[in-house]
């Protein structure tokens, strides 16, 4: 690992990387603070913009957007009681009451401190866990990759939130879409004679459609509705936590960060889930759980450290195994692909300079995010006043340009439009879109590795299913899958107990 640091640092200290870092942090905070623009959507839109950049600068910028947007979302949550991204829904509970009490700047300061610590811990986890995991992945064969993909697919149920049936509808739709293209034996499948579909439905246009084009239509749809006037509270209070406060909060922040990293590693579970789990931890450890919801610092620190800790965690399985740890990471994978970087051990050997530059840059992004937030965070409310009619056409243009730019194939633009329509109806009927993307990535992966495993098993005169139990690592993954099947029941119980006590939070949609 350390032998790669020199190359990575010289890559990091180039103008393009430094600029990518700065643009990523500032841009990410703006995207995050804008209600309706999430990290996922921002990255989906900006991937094509990175096409001409150096790979290191491009991926660094996208990773910086990820963490900064998750942080930026908390500012809208605190100041206008609207989470800028789904990850900050839990922050509204105590953040906004704090602001109402005249401690808005203090709430932003607590959020900044917690987000930075959570982000930095996740970056360190990424630096320490990813390289050995990548090395370990060299021992993974086709059966292990097949089972990892199936493991990811079982987590769709946990992504689904309240309604598992709707989640499964979304997941199945993603699987069906993933069938289009070349089958594992190289023959064409469900292409209906359309040349452009022979390579399958491309991920980037599909995601731009699902996340961005559908958002344009949703915004248009909501134009008729009477807008709820969100009162912006006055900026006041001290920014940084006091020394005593910091000492009091730090054990909680650290624990939530570790839990956040773990949730990030799980395929599919993202910052939104982590922030609720973080709040739950804070409550269970507090001597005065009844004070939550009245505007106390723990209620901001816990979810904000957990959701930023997710970001680095979600990058771990992405970079090592090609499995996104959250829907935002799934979009980031599209960014890796267009720069010719395939997840796996090669990222940590052949492309080590780029990868370590991104990881170190990600660490720096989390610190820079704190500095920018300290200096300018309070002005981010201005962003949430941008009139939506101005925003909609910009997003529409960027969406279509982006879907064409990625591979200069006009079919991709039609794909983006079609998925925009599909995403619109999904969201109108409360069907989550994140499982579609997860299934679209993991479906073809399981297909391919199953075919590969079948060929490998043939030499032992075994079928694929007989071959799996002969590999100890595969048995380990089967156990994981069984555990994952019970995870939704547990997370459902957690969210149920929350809604009972706090009422349903009108969070931005999970996109």
């Amino acid at each position: 690992m350390f032998e790669n640091m020199a190359g990575a640092l010289s890559e990091l200290f180039t103008w393009s990387s430094a600029l990518g870092l700065l643009i990523g942090v500032v841009g990410g905070m703006i995207i995050g603070a804008l209600p309706g623009l999430s990290a996922t959507m921002g990255i989906a839109l900006l991937i094509p913009v990175t096409y001409g950049m150096r790979p290191s600068a491009a991926i660094l910028m996208l990773a910086a957007i990820y963490t900064a947007a998750v942080y930026g979302g908390s500012i809208s949550a605190i100041l206008i009681h609207t989470p800028g991204t789904p990850s900050s829904a839990a922050t509204c509970l105590d953040g906004y009451p704090m602001a109402q009490k005249g401690e808005s700047l203090h709430a932003i300061g607590i959020s900044t401190t917690s987000s930075v610590i959570g982000g930095v811990i996740s970056a360190i986890a990424l630096l320490l866990i990813a390289p050995p995991l990548a090395r370990l992945s060299l021992n993974f064969g086709s059966t292990e990759y097949f089972l990892i993909a199936v493991f990811g697919l079982t987590l769709i149920a946990s992504l689904a939130g309240d309604n598992m049936v709707k989640g499964l509808i979304a997941g199945t739709f993603g699987l069906v879409v993933g069938l289009v293209g070349l089958a594992a034996d190289g023959s064409a499948r469900y292409t209906f004679g359309v040349t452009g579909l022979l390579g399958g439905i491309s991920l980037i246009p599909a995601m731009i459609g699902l996340f961005s084009v559908s958002q344009v239509m949703i915004q248009a749809d909501e134009r008729g509705k009477e807008a709820v006037k969100k009162e912006v509270v006055k900026i006041s209070g001290r920014f940084l936590p006091t020394g005593k406060e910091f000492v009091h909060l730090i054990p909680l922040i650290l624990e939530c960060s570790v839990v956040g990293v773990f949730i990030g590693i799980l395929p599919g579970a993202g910052g939104d889930i982590a922030s609720w789990v973080g709040l739950n931890i804070a409550k269970s450890q507090s001597k005065h759980p009844e004070l939550f919801g009245t505007g106390i610092v723990e209620g901001v620190a816990a979810p904000e450290s957990a959701n930023n800790a997710v970001t680095g965690g979600a990058l771990i399985p992405l970079l090592t195994l090609g499995i996104p740890g959250s829907s935002t990471a799934a979009v980031l994978m599209g960014g890796l692909t267009i720069h010719g970087l395939a997840p796996g051990f090669e990222l940590f050997s052949k492309y080590a300079d780029i990868t370590y530059c991104v990881i170190l840059g990600f660490l720096a992004a989390n610190i820079l995010m704190g500095l920018v937030g300290w200096a300018a965070g309070r002005y981010l409310t201005m962003v949430s006043k941008v009139p939506i009619p101005l925003l909609i056409p910009c997003i529409a243009v960027l969406s279509l340009l982006g879907s064409y730019a990625a591979s200069r194939n006009i079919t991709d633009v039609y794909v983006a439009v079609a998925f925009g329509l599909i995403g619109f109806f999904f969201r109108k009927y409360g069907i989550p879109t994140a499982p579609v993307v997860l299934a679209l990535i993991l479906g073809p992966m399981s297909d391919k590795y199953m075919y590969q495993g079948t060929r490998v098993a043939m030499k032992k005169d075994l079928s694929f299913w007989q071959y799996i139990p002969t590999r100890p690592l595969s048995i380990f993954f089967i156990i994981l899958i069984v555990l994952a099947l019970f995870a939704p029941l547990v997370s459902k119980a957690i969210s149920k107990s929350y809604e009972k006590k706090h009422g349903h939070i009108d969070a931005a949609e999970d996109i």
Partner: protein, 342 residues
């Protein structure tokens, strides 16, 4: 109603934006007289993603076409449709020589012979192109891990003949050169693909991983995959090249035995390779073609070109006119004889 109108309007906006992006031919300039060619810039359509082996070959060729033609030669990567979006674009360009293309073999031939892709390919064959010149020739090889029980190709073949099942990972499924090589060897020694088993549709990196983690016995790939052995895996174990399936010793891999010197009677003359060449629409002006061929012949003799190609692991083997056509025809014939797609 107002709401519905807003949604419809937003959709209409998106659709009209999409329509703006329609196919505008990228070829530049009016079709000038062939004598004055080239007057404007030339575009090479590469139906493969940027950064891959095809792309690098096309970019190297573009650099030297620029040197000898005196105009800008740019590479445009048109992905999608398993390369057929790009191939169709090459064919639909004007024959004025300002739009050329890059093709790979046997990939292109395997694509149009596969009956499942018939509707997508729309009846195109190599005959629809002006096949200007083959440029890169990358012979097939079979490799094993250094600690493999198969020390030579003969060991491996003897084991198969004695009834051991052997799996060979391949960079690509049916129709790729790697898969075809395994099937050709099987046919030559009289076993089926149930005994000498080609892998699935893994890419070269995954095929290598399957070899290293011991799931397969050998890997079918190309000289370019291993010409600089093992700089990137970080593993201490190494690989051994059992045979290069080419008539000539490879400059990039001087120590590897070529198939004909192994003394395996059944496999004498069994050659396999991945080839990349410059093509254009079938309508290409004959005078323009002559000028491109002339520029390529100068390129071939250019020591700088040879040096650049070697550094990037590209074996250069230029074939022009009938020689090139005969070569592609041979690829087509061998697919038909093997009955892979039946």
């Amino acid at each position: 109603m107002k709401k519905l109108a807003a949604i419809i309007l937003s959709l209409a906006m998106i659709l009209s934006l999409a329509a703006c992006g329609g196919d505008t031919p990228a070829s530049s300039g009016a079709s000038g007289e062939a004598a004055a060619w080239p007057k404007g810039n030339i575009e090479i359509i590469v139906p493969f993603k940027a950064g891959g082996a095809m792309d690098l070959s096309a970019r190297l060729t573009a650099t030297y076409l620029k040197k000898y033609l005196g105009v800008e030669v740019s590479v445009n990567n048109v992905e999608g449709g398993a390369n057929w979006v790009g191939y169709h674009q090459i064919l639909s360009a004007k024959g004025d020589g300002y739009t050329l293309g890059f093709a790979n073999y046997p990939g292109q031939v395997g694509g149009y012979l596969d009956p499942s892709k018939k509707d997508n390919v729309k009846g195109v064959t190599y005959r629809d192109f002006t096949n200007i010149a083959n440029i890169v020739h990358d012979p097939g090889i079979i490799v094993v891990k250094e600690d493999s029980p198969y020390k030579t190709l003969n060991d491996l073949l003897d084991a198969v003949k004695a009834g051991t099942k052997v799996t060979i990972s391949t960079g690509g499924a049916k129709g790729s050169d790697d898969d075809t090589l395994v099937r050709l060897i099987g046919r030559a020694i009289g076993v089926t693909d149930k005994d000498l088993i080609p892998g699935g549709n893994e890419n070269d990196a995954e095929a290598k991983n399957l070899l290293l983690n011991g799931e397969v016995d050998a890997q079918a790939c190309n000289v370019s995959n291993y010409f600089k052995t093992y700089e990137s895996t970080g593993q201490t174990d190494s690989i051994r090249v059992l045979a290069v399936f080419d008539a000539n010793k490879q400059e990039l891999m001087p120590n590897a035995p070529i198939i004909d010197e192994l003394g395996i009677e059944e496999l004498k003359g069994l050659y396999s390779s991945s080839d990349r060449g410059l093509v254009a629409t079938g309508k290409l002006d004959a005078a323009v073609l002559a000028k491109i061929v002339e520029a390529l012949k100068k390129t071939e003799a250019d020591p700088d070109f040879q040096k650049d190609a070697k550094e990037q692991g590209m074996g250069i083997h230029m074939l022009f006119g009938d020689d090139f056509t005969k070569f592609i025809d041979g690829v087509e014939t061998s697919f038909k004889e093997l009955k892979i797609f039946e």
